[in-house]
Structure formats: structure tokens, C-alpha cells
Amino acid sequence: MNALILPSRALAGSTLVEPVLAVAGLTKVFSGREILQGLDFALSPGQSTALIGANGSGKSTLLRCLVRLVEPTSGRIAMLGQDVITLRPHELRRFRARVGIVWQRYNLVPRLSALSNVIHGVQARMSGPRAWFQSLAPADVRAEAMTCLARVGLADRASARVDSLSGGQQQRVAIARMLMQRPAFILADEPDASLDPQTGQEVMELLLGLVRQDELSLLVISHRLEHTLAYSDRILGLANGRIALDLPTVQANAAALRRFFDHEGAA
């Protein structure tokens, strides 16, 4: 299955190319508690990297720090050639436009149609009423949104309200919205966590397929070991706010990852 889904497996942790993401000494302190304790790692472009760790290990905080949805306490982040920490508000907006995020709970606007939600992705590069609702969007934006919906297999549900769709369909709409951004880097925070195993696998296959097609980079959090092994080139393990595991997926196996989870979860 891996070979089929990951036709262009990149060299895990390769340092031969300019990293798409480089993190140095990243810390985050919440209420006196150090959630992230001086993280250092770099990701090569075109890689799919899985971030694993027990609940509370700091995975989601790390993801949010990378785009400054949560402000890091100290450290440096270089992503897509930009020093993220020093970006001013308007520069940060432009930077975030290039980073697609897939959320665990989809985070769609519930009363709007799938098409309107996908069109929201264009707010990465366009502002004003034309980017707010499908009824006001220009023809080319609507056409691009329909293409994104078609890529996730939901062109026929464009007019459906997203709160009438199943969980898997909503996550597909969220992925289509992310594609509408035309991102260069994708962060995925447990995109399979709210879905049943079959649907979760379909969503992960879809996400990885799109990442490979568009030659994007992906950092994905997943608690499902089979997904971690099947849909990543490299695995980073986070424990107590530190990188405790870093290895190419080809060298990993389910038993070793389970031991990591059990050990770090109990720690």
C-alpha cells in the first residue's frame, strides 16, 4: 500500500536540500509549565512527516506555534524561507496563506454550503465580499472551488449545507478549502481522529494523494499507528515537550511505535 500511495518517498531527514521547515530551540511556556522544551528539527521539502506522542506531549501546541496561532515563548522558526517569529501582522497574514491546515474538527462554517466554505480558502489571497460567499464570488474563483471539490470527490454536493454532510465528507470539504489556498506546506492536526477507521483511512489516502500530486510538504499528527506507518516518510516522536524519536518510516514498525506510546504515555 505504501508504494502505491507514496510513489516519491523522499529521503527522511535529508540535509541535502534547503529545509522547508527549520525549528531551533523552540519553547512554549503556559502558566509556568514548559510545554515545548527547546525543540530542534528540520524537514525536507516534499516529505510527509508524522508527529506522534501521547496526549499532552505538546503536538498541537507545536503545530499552532509554527504559524503563530499560539505565540512561542522563545526559539526560531524558519518556514518556506521566512523567519516566522519576526513577521509583522500583515506579513504573518501573507505567510499563513501559504500554509494549509487540516483540523481535527473540520472547523467549517456550519450554516454555509460546501462551495462557500471552499471559497473561503481564497481569502488567503483575496479579501472583500467576493471571497465571503459563493453567491458573490467571481466566476474564476467559483470554477477553482468546484475543481477543488471535484478533487476530493464532492463536486455533486457543492450546494449542500456542510452541517448536513457526514464527518468524512466535512473533512473532505475542509481539505478542498485548504487546496483553495494553494498552499506550499500542510499541517494536519489529527485529520482522522473524529472519523471511523474506514473513513479515516480514506481521508488520509486522499490527503497524501493530493500532497504527492502537488508536491507539497506535510506535517501530520496522528494517533493511529497504522496511518503513521502508511502515510509518512519520517516519524518524529514528541515526549514531555522534547523530540524523543526521529527515524525514517521505513525503519519503524508498529511494535516499536506502540512501545514509544506506552512508555511516554505512562511517563
Binding site: 496563506a97 491546515i101 483540523w103 456550519p110
Partner: protein
Amino acid sequence: MTDATLSPPRFRHLGLPSYVVLLVVLALVVSSVAATAPSADKLVRGITRLFAPSGLFTQMVPPDFSRIEPISWKLLETLQMAVAGCFLGLIFAVPFAILATDRLSPHPVVRSIARAVIALFRTVPDLVWAIIFIIIVGLGPAAGVMAIMVDKIGFAGRFFAEAMEETDPGPQDALRAIGASRLGVIVSSVFPACLPSFTATSLFALEKSVRGSAALGLVGAGGIGVDLKVAFDLFNYDEALAIILLMLALVITVEQGSGWIRRKLI
């Protein structure tokens, strides 16, 4: 019977502070009623006078609809005052509500000022606003419209802000992460989520405006209230009853209409 089968006490044990609070509340209620409520004999004498041959009730019934045409035009003016004041109030309530919402306000100081303004507009009764606007723009419906507008900014501003406060932050975070502007997040995420609440509040505001606009004429701010005051001043109680009945019909019609819209939209 074992300990395991013992049921918990029927009433929670109250401590001394709770009894003190209860006693204070009770004393406040009793003293307020004793100081201000009418005595029983005063009430009986009043009701007897009301139904006496020359009493108010006898002079009111049957109602006099002979001036129904001018009264109807005044009733229409009352409705127009309510609609105009309510519409303007709802429009201006939206920016105030945004500025008063924790997550959407640009700065805590701005938020505090917006909340203070909304509280001021809500706390001062619309009759007082009407008197103030009569001084500013003179007698007539314009003062009534202004009074209703300010009252509705206070009313709707508070409920709009609460609705926006209660929305799921997830979609807003997602749009913020996309790089959407603050206005983009508000219009494309917050407003659609708040639409049912906004609609319900707006319809309640319209009902409240119609009820309020009928009374504003009593202080000279236009509408049917002026005619009602004149009818009472000239002891034309039968005409006053006709006006009250027509006002009632208007309020019931608006309430039924807004109830129907609420059921259809929400």
C-alpha cells in the same frame, strides 16, 4: 437497612450566611410592598369608582370609532416610527456588538467603551431618550425614531454581542489561519453562525419598538400616543378605548407576523 441504601438528605443544609441573605431578601420584599403597594380598601374603593355610572369604565364602553380614519393614519405613523427606529438601531447595534465581543474587539479598552455605551443605551428608558431627542430635534416622529434607535442599539447590541461570544471559535481560527482579514472572519464565519440568533433578536426588537412607539407620543415624540393623551385630557374616554384597541390590534398583528417569520427562518 445498610448504609449503602441510605438516600441523601432531601434538602441541602444551609449555613448561617445563606439564612442571613434569605432574611435580607424577605425584609426587602415586605418593606417594598408595605411602602408602595396600594392598600386593600384603597383598591376596593378604586374598583367601585371605576364601574360606577359616571366611572371611567362606563364612559369608555362602548368605544368610539368615529375618528377611525385619522387614528389609522396615526397608527401607520406609529408603525413607521417603529420600523425606521428599529432598522437604524439594528444596523448600528452590529458594530457596537462586534467591538464589545471579547474575541472580535481590537483592544480591551475599545471593548470596555463599547460595552459601557451599550449599557448606557439599554439602561436609560426610551421615554427618557424621547424627551432628550425632543429637546434636540423638536416635537414629532423624528424624536421618536431617534429614541427607538438608541434603545434598540442597547437592546440588540447586548444580544448580538452575546450571540457572537457563544459561537464556536473553530471556524474563526481556521479562517484566521488561512490569512483572512478580521472583517473576513466576522462576515464569512461569525455572521452565518449567528444568523438564527440575530433574526430572533431583530424580530423581538421590532415587537418591542412597536409597543414602545405607541407610548412615545405621550411625551410628544409622534405617533398614536399623542392622540391617546389628547383623548384622555379631553375626557373622551370612549375614543381613548378605541385607540387602545387599535394599538392592541397593531401589536398583536406585528407579534403574530414576527412569530411566523421566526418559525419559518429559524
